[in-house]
Symmetry: C2
Subunit: 434 residues, 2 copies
């Protein structure tokens, strides 16, 4: 088998065989396939696509490049949730404790924020002492003890994905539904889960801007999961404006704690409850979605979810007192308000621009090696559809450094659209793929 | 300027700017652009194409990666000829001496055979002592003394092409009209010529199998040449069956000498005279094509072309006595005849298969580093359209090594098609692009 023949086959629009795909991934993993051949095949794949079978083989080969965690020793149906990434998208910190409190073991491996979107690991690390670098054995212990582990991807999980992603990042080959799907699903399948709920974001703040693209991605992800024996379903949710009111790591932790205490913004509650309910059904601890939703809401009302989050924090080395005392979380020294330029209605609050403003403040990173500031971020004071007067505060920027504020301000200002006519935002839940 | 942005632009079907293309080629030449980014851009170019302006910029940038030879010190309009490669395509050895004998300075830089097609350098080197590795200064001297230099590409000529071609060869990115055009034309433009005649082959033995593709390639080549100040025209000629009767290096030299002596196969004469005549018009030594053809045929009849070839051989260190004594050329020790499987007409003699059979005998190379045997090859005894009886010799294989004969025989046998109905081959001259 010659790499150049495989490349030429894909270049000409052919479907690769399982052997050809395994040859490619094994070569990438072992370092025996030169980068320049891998990138040529990646570009041909971006432009020619891969069918569902090829994508499933690619995913499997990437899973097989590392270990597939064996969680059969943990009783119950293990369920994880994955989001394709958004701005203010902090639902993992709400739904993982809720699902665990309801009896679903949640082995959650998450990523860090990159570009304008945030990442679960960065949010968790805003909690003083919280350790996300757990070994696979630590993960098993956490699952057995507190029913949930929230950790970063270990080096044993789909190492081919890491190599391929680094190459895709510098060769213009990120934007491909089959490649994105295989990257996401290989890591999820390798976790050893039994079921998975996906939150595929759509809109300006999402990787997929259109509903059609988001649906194609969702269908691809669900197809791969089910082909690999992981029962998978997806919801598609709007990411036109930030989710909730907090954007930035410590700020988002506070918002999650508010939700677990029965408060918090309605949109965060809606998406978190929707996803957690689906996890309960997949995890076979609820008979149907209505039953599941009742249980999830009860876990909020009873404080069982909050209590479970406290135990997760404690088990992973974090300071559980943050749950009751937000002053123990890092806070930025300065605030700057961006006011409404006129009177009328907030017709839009561009999620991508708010996300970029938040990164400019230091809450996220443009490059993997950048460090972040857990304290800074943005609080959304007015949500799209709300009435505003000229001068009303729209965004409150929590900053440490004046130069970073100066970089963030134009982005924050541009994110705001005020108009004369009230426009009702589209429903958050755009669709589902089962 | 970031390579990844240029790659993404081409991936999305955009047209690159001159600056972007120069950035790419300069990075390839200097080795500062990683191979994996170069190959991703190459694949995006194969699948998305390049317009005429982009292709011209690419060619220019490749010319500028090395030296552009200054031949202004040589009087006259310098004209070269280039063929896209065929089987038995030996016209350079006929037309270069003829055009030079008629007063056109011919600075000819050629390549070696690769795959099923032969190369001018390999044919010249079948002449004992003939040196093709001349410096650019040697080339100037040869032009001044004998009006013609037949040499290999020096390392100063379009080094970016060498690097890019090596990468294209292993990344499935050879098949692209813009990339092929820029590769061919950058080397020709860098030679310092004033005008160029192209012989774009079409058919089974050609790189371009269809007339439409061949025409697109011819148009691209002619467009680049004229944009770069090299007056360029192209003819498209059929390469369904081998040109002439000889395939293999020493055998082809003999056939060329026969043509220069007024004999030889009609098809070799036709293409050689056609191309040489165009060179005379472009070189302004003939008033029109009819005048030019008269002069070319006169140079054959008078022996002026043969005499000029003798001087070229002598000047480049070869043994000029081969002109009169073919026994001084290498000859294979053994012959094997492939006979007609039945009676009727030869309806086809697949050029690609004959070419591959010849490579199998050792006359060509599959890989750049392979060495060749100048003596071996194939003589075509019957041409398509001719009547045959069962058992008539069709191909005579000149071989040295029994194992190589065994490898060549199935290919040679498969190249022959005999049928009941006489089929007249299409005319050799398929079209022209001015």
């Amino acid at each position: 088998m010659r790499a150049v023949d495989i490349i030429a086959k894909k270049r000409d629009g052919g479907a690769l065989t399982g052997d050809e795909i395994r040859f490619f991934v094994a070569g990438v993993t072992a370092g025996t396939l030169p980068d320049y051949q891998a990138s040529a095949l990646l570009m041909a794949t971006v432009l020619r696509g891969m069918d569902a079978q090829e994508t499933a083989w690619l995913t499997e080969a990437m899973v097989d490049s590392g270990v597939r965690v064996d969680l059969t020793g943990i009783p119950g149906v293990k369920v994880d949730k994955h989001s394709t990434g958004g701005v203010g998208d902090k639902t993992s910190l709400v739904l993982a404790p809720l699902a665990a409190a309801c009896g679903v073991p949640v082995p959650m491996m998450s990523g860090r924020g990159l570009g304008h979107t945030g990442g679960t690991l960065d949010k968790l690390e805003a909690i003083p002492g919280f350790r996300v670098s757990l070994s696979l054995e630590d993960m098993r212990v956490a699952l057995a003890r507190v029913g949930c582990a929230m950790i970063g991807q270990t080096s044993e999980i789909a190492p081919a994905d890491k190599t391929l992603y680094a190459l895709r990042d510098v060769t213009g080959t990120v934007e491909s539904i089959p490649l994105i799907s295989a990257s996401i699903m290989s890591k999820k399948i390798a976790e050893g889960i039994d079921a998975l709920v996906l939150d595929v974001k759509t809109g300006s703040g999402a990787f997929m801007k259109t509903e059609a693209d988001s649906r194609r991605l969702a269908e691809s992800l669900v197809s791969i999961g089910n082909r690999s024996g992981v029962k998978t379903e997806a919801i598609i949710t709007a990411m036109d404006a930030p989710l909730g009111r907090a954007v930035g790591n410590a700020l988002e932790v506070i918002e999650c704690l508010d939700v677990l205490k029965g408060g918090g913004p309605p949109d965060v509650i809606e998406v978190s409850v929707e996803l957690a309910s689906r996890m309960l059904v997949l995890g076979r601890v609820a008979s149907d979605r209505a039953d599941a939703e009742r249980r999830v809401r009860a876990a909020i009302a009873s404080g069982a979810g909050l209590d479970r989050f406290r135990r997760i924090i404690e088990h992973q080395g974090g300071d559980p007192r943050v749950v009751d005392d937000y002053r123990r979380l890092p806070a930025a020294p300065h605030r700057h308000v961006v006011a409404s330029p006129g009177a009328g209605y907030l017709t839009g609050l561009d999620a991508q621009l708010v996300g970029r403003a938040s990164v400019a403040l230091g809450a996220g990173r443009d490059r993997v090696e950048d460090s972040i500031d857990p304290a800074v971020g943005i609080v959304v004071m007015v949500k799209p559809g709300d009435e505003v007067r000229a001068g009303d505060p729209i965004l409150e920027l929590h900053y440490r450094d004046r130069a970073r504020l100066d970089a963030a301000l134009p982005l924050a200002t541009r994110s705001i659209a005020v108009g004369d006519v009230r426009q009702t935002p589209r429903p958050l839940l755009v669709g589902e793929v089962l």
